[in-house]
């Protein structure tokens, strides 16, 4: 029997990797999208683990919502990315700063 804390530890690791990836990555916007996916998945693992241990099905139902949102987010994000690339010929994160004050 794997304890709850093991699931939570895995989820926390995934989450931290996602966060760190967000900050340290200066090159590619695609990596940012992947990091966001990682963060969302870590949350999903949490939800599944708690759902199992608390015997409450609603946590697992919630996972589907998160997955749906994540999927649509990726679809939109990639679409923006493609449009952006057409305009600027680059998806370098350091180049995307036209909103600065």
């Amino acid at each position: 029997m794997v304890p709850l804390s093991a699931y939570l530890a895995v989820a926390a690791c995934l989450f931290s990797i996602g966060i760190v990836g967000l900050f340290l990555n200066r090159k590619n916007v695609l990596i940012i999208l992947m990091c966001i996916e990682l963060i969302l998945l870590s949350v999903n693992i949490n939800l599944a683990a708690f759902s199992h241990f608390l015997q409450d099905i609603s946590g697992q139902i919630f996972i589907f919502f998160v997955l749906t949102v994540a999927a649509s987010e990726v679809a939109v994000g990639l679409a923006i990315l493609v449009a952006y690339y057409r305009n600027r010929r680059s998806i370098n994160v350091d180049d995307i700063n036209t909103l600065q004050g």
Binding site: D94, I96, N97, L99, G101
Partner: protein
């Protein structure tokens, strides 16, 4: 009872004409503009004449039409009070206004502001009618302000002239002083009587006097009724050009001449006299206020006559004469001869409007030249103007049987008959000596224009001609008025009846029996028509004309010699007693200095430099510049800020427990 629809139509017709021509004047041809306005004013004059005959037959009207304002017990109705005093004003206003409308067709022909001008004078006729026809102090105040506004607009009619704009502003500001007093008076009436209605207020006056209320005002203790009357009279001083608020009236001659005739001679400036006569049930109970009215009127009558002696601008001579004659009317009011004041108001309206319109005809002929020194020998070229102006001049001088004689003589006799101590003696001296001066300056102006030597500029000469019929016909109509109104008033209307209630005015004027100068006169004995030969005014007028004849009929060196011999006096009155300089030094320059100081120190230094650039806005700007640096535009910076925020919130929640 009079027909209320007819009464409403009298002011409504000019108002509608004014609005139509004013709003759509840009689309109307000249002919249509003057047809609409003139027709409506003439119709209004005919209706007034009809109402006049009905009132002579004993009819009257008193009633409210609408409620204008309503706030708890504060009620301001719109109503009319038509009695003998009202109709005589209505008739005078509409008849003179009709003549001026017709005259204007010729005088303003081709002016770019043609329809605007007609809109204004019709609007003026409406305002003046509201002023005289109203049945409460608030409609009086409305009319009072409305005529002031139109006067301002018309003085500044040629708004491209700097001097016209200055004159308009001067008239407006000086009138503001008077109107403030008037408003204080009206509000004091509300405070003491709880009503604006003439009848309500006048009915309560004896009770208030008996009650003996008094109040302290600027260190003086005075009875409530004196305070009300004096406040109202301050308004009359402003509107009717009485010393010390007379300074705007001569400057108002910057406006077109028809306006000088209609507004600044015949009607608007007499509103003050009308108001004092209307309020006779109040003024009668205040000896102090009556004495003040006499004093101010006498000073004005005398002082403005002296200024008129030396002016060289044809319109200014007549303007100072107007001030002086208004002074006569106030003196008459002050000695309780209200009927004589209104009588003089009526005759003055005709002959003074005629004098101005004739002067306008002259100015028209000599190509807008107003300087008497550049006229002369015009009688052959302009016979109609010559004759009509002669009639007006004789009427103004008070030569029988012209209109001015009857009314002015009545005033002077009334002043002589009323015992008022020092003020009364001074007033008697002032009105008598002003008769001489009036005759002199009127005929000085007349001879310099039509006789004397020919001083018209060479290039103007071929242009000199008699004015067209549209100008001369109103002159002739008014000449009939200047000839006949005096005799008609005394013989036809019985205006001079010492028992006012039995004469023309009936109950519309109120005089206490204790000080009715006309009654005193009547007790002294009945006079025949030839009586004037034995009185001083007649001989003073004749000698004034004689002196003017000797000095100005032919070119002589007497005027120059006289001026040189009395240089200090001459300079003093030539500069109009330095009133303008006095006001400039005591009021205008300090006010301008204060304005400049507030602008430089208050606005530029404190608000612009201190607050805007240094203080609030400067601080915000500096703060914003720093905050701006935080907006790097890099996504990961924002993400980092978000995460930090989430951690901080969570930490706070966990620690809080």
């Amino acid at each position: 009872m009079l027909n209320s629809t007819e009464l409403l139509a009298i002011p409504a017709l000019p108002l509608i004409a004014s609005l139509v021509v004013g709003l759509f004047g840009w689309a109307l041809k000249e002919k249509l503009s003057h047809t609409i306005t003139s027709a409506s004013v003439i119709l209004s004059a005919l209706l007034s004449a009809h109402v006049f005959t009905q009132v002579l037959g004993g009819a009257s009207f008193y009633g409210n039409f609408w409620t204008w304002m309503l706030s708890d017990t504060f009620v301001v109705p719109v109503g009319m009070m038509i009695d003998q005093l009202t109709v005589i004003m209505m008739l005078t206003v509409t008849v003179v206004s009709s003549c001026v409308h017709i005259y204007t067709i010729g005088y303003m022909h081709g002016d770019p502001g043609y329809s605007r001008f007609f809109s204004y004078i019709s609007g003026f006729t409406f305002s003046m009618l509201v002023l005289v026809m109203g049945n409460n102090f608030f409609t009086l105040f409305f009319g009072w302000e409305a005529v002031g506004l139109v006067s301002y607009l018309l003085i500044g009619f040629w708004f491209k002239r700097e001097s016209a704009n200055f004159a308009a502003m001067k008239a407006f500001i000086v009138n503001r002083v008077g109107d403030f007093g008037f408003l204080v008076g009206v509000l004091a009436i509300w405070y003491y009587f709880g009503s604006f209605d003439y009848r309500d207020v006048f009915a309560q006056v004896p009770a208030l006097v008996a009650q003996g209320d008094s109040l302290h005002f600027l260190g003086w203790e005075m009875s409530a009724i004196t305070f009300i009357c004096l406040s109202l009279f301050v308004g009359a001083m402003g509107k009717s050009g009485q010393v010390p608020l007379h300074v705007w009236l001569p400057d108002s001659m910057e406006g077109p001449t028809p306006i000088s005739a209609l507004i600044h001679a015949a009607t608007m400036v007499t509103a003050g006299v009308f108001m004092v006569a209307r309020c006779s049930p109040m003024f009668e109970y205040s000896e102090t206020a009556l004495a003040a009215v006499v004093f101010v009127g006498a000073v004005t009558a005398w002082m403005c006559a002296t200024i008129g002696l030396v002016q060289t601008d044809i319109k200014r001579v007549i303007a100072y004469s107007t001030c002086s004659q208004l002074g006569y009317m106030f003196v008459a009011c002050g000695v309780s001869a209200y009927s004589a004041a209104i009588f003089h108001l009526m005759t003055h309206a005709y002959f003074k409007a005629l004098l101005f319109l004739a002067a306008g005809s002259v100015i028209h002929a000599v190509m807008a030249e107003q300087d008497l020194r550049k006229m002369g020998q015009l009688r052959k070229a302009m016979p109609v103007t010559y004759i009509t102006m002669l009639i007006a001049a004789l009427a103004l001088s008070g030569v029988p049987p012209f209109a001015g004689f009857w009314s002015k003589d009545l005033i002077i006799e009334a002043v002589g008959a009323r015992e008022m101590g020092l003020v009364g003696d001074f007033a008697y001296f002032a009105v008598l000596s002003a008769v001489f001066m009036t005759a002199f300056y009127t005929f000085r102006m007349f001879f310099l224009t039509f006789h004397n030597s020919d001083r018209v500029a060479a290039k103007t000469k071929p242009h000199v001609h008699e004015s067209p019929k549209v100008i001369t016909i109103p002159l002739m109509i008014l000449a009939v008025g200047a000839l006949l109104t005096g005799a008609w008033g005394v013989m036809g209307l019985d205006i001079a009846n010492p028992e006012i209630a039995n004469g023309y005015f009936g109950s519309s004027l109120f005089v206490l029996d204790a000080h009715n100068p006309l009654m005193t006169l009547a007790e002294e004995g009945e006079h025949g028509w030839y009586h004037f030969v034995f009185t001083a005014p007649f001989w003073l007028a004749i000698s004034g004309i004689g002196l003017a004849y000797a000095m100005y009929f032919r070119e002589t060196d007497m005027p120059a010699k006289l001026a040189a011999a009395s240089k200090p006096v001459y300079t003093f009155i030539l500069n109009k007693w330095y009133w303008d300089e006095l006001y400039a030094k005591t009021v205008m320059y300090p006010a301008q200095g204060l304005g400049r100081w507030l602008w430089q120190k208050g606005d530029l230094a404190m608000i612009d430099k201190g607050l805007i650039h240094g203080g609030i806005v400067g601080g915000v700007l500096a703060g914003m510049n720093r905050m701006r640096a935080m907006q790097t535009g890099y996504v990961y910076h924002y993400a980092f800020a978000m995460i930090i925020g989430v951690f901080a919130t969570l930490t706070y929640l966990v620690l809080k427990g």
